[in-house]
Symmetry: none
Subunit: 128 residues, 4 copies
């Protein structure tokens, strides 16, 4: 598996968000342990045909969340706080959860029905 990210400018999700998601996924999977270097901004920009600015913005967001650290002139690295990634994703998960619940309530879906659908969604292969 290559060390790079797969970005699509066809996706409705903005590119910076795609970068954030995939970096978090790499970290959560253990593929990028604490201290592991992230792809250099310039390299990633060149290979992904994405603007340097966009990548910088994504890295900045990850830095603000405490997920990575950037050292001037050296690059960015996975921070020594594995919990940070989890915390970011859990926040997102909780937000998605309440949005889903709100829609389900409006639809007046039965609890069992919702649980069945969630179960099915979890079993499906990645739909990206």
């Amino acid at each position: 598996m290559t060390d790079l990210l797969v970005l699509s400018n066809q996706s409705p999700t903005p590119m910076y968000a795609q970068i954030v998601e995939q970096v978090l996924a790499k970290i959560m999977s253990g593929e990028w342990p604490p201290g592991h270097p992230l792809p250099s901004i310039r390299d990633l920009a060149a290979r992904s045909r994405v603007s340097v600015i966009t990548i910088k913005r994504a890295y900045l967001e990850l830095e603000h969340a405490g997920v990575i650290v950037t050292q001037q002139g050296k690059g960015s690295f996975v921070a020594d706080r594995p919990d940070a990634s989890r915390a970011v994703l859990m926040d997102e998960f909780r937000a998605q959860l309440s949005a889903l619940a709100a829609t389900a309530r409006t639809l007046r879906l039965d609890t069992d029905e919702v649980l069945r659908l969630v179960d099915a969604a979890l079993s499906e292969p990645e739909d990206t």
Copy 2:
């Protein structure tokens, strides 16, 4: 009950989308049955302190979705197709579902754990 819509310009969801959601909720709840007149765009604009054009935009979306019909000089009315509202919301639900599943997978959450959290979210009171 004031019977009006509650809008927030602080929310990341655009106001016209908030209007769409709340109209759909009124229809799904049966509070606005087929044929029921929607508030006039100007009245709603004045009361909600929102621009006329914003309300119009929301009503346009609902028209495109087949949820309401609008007649010049008369007003807008809930369409005689209750399924349309449900279809729109089900599309949204499915999108939320796959997003949730993706996050859960990244988090490596156990299926039972996810189901438990979903169940809890459904039992909670409205979180708005």
Copy 3:
């Protein structure tokens, strides 16, 4: 055949236009010869559940075109100028014709194809 007009507030064509069209049709068909009285505004309004103002507006437009004449206190009558109705409709026909031709050109439809479709449309039963 009753002497009244058939109006639908479901139609996308505005009500006043429906009235104009149907009066012209009655005249062109000979059902309402010159001098024939039109339905009284109040009567038509009551039976069609349409506002008096709307009907007045339609009659006004017909009067401006010289198709009918209105006598204070007596009512409206088909004018003694059968050509007037034809002229109004021919104007509309010409406008429709050039709009149709423009769309056909944009679609790059073959002349024979267009003629075939027009022929078919003329043979179809009324689609109202």
Copy 4:
């Protein structure tokens, strides 16, 4: 060739609809192939002396019809579905066709006469 759109606020057709028509014409003519970028809404607004929101409205309609796709921060592009444009125009053509047929019937025009007039209209140069 100025390559721009020609709009008139005197026309009964709303300006956003005029924009839609002209974009469809560009696409149908092959001048704007799939993937081709549309003018930026702000640029077009400035050059056509039309409000940004009006252009946006036109582009929204084209998006709903599947004719173009819009990406945040990048621009709008002709969709990879050439059929979509044709479908939109064919719908319009069919509507015009039945309107024309209705008028012709009211006028009691002979089929051959109508066909002759249509043929003539198709041969005429653009009448704008």
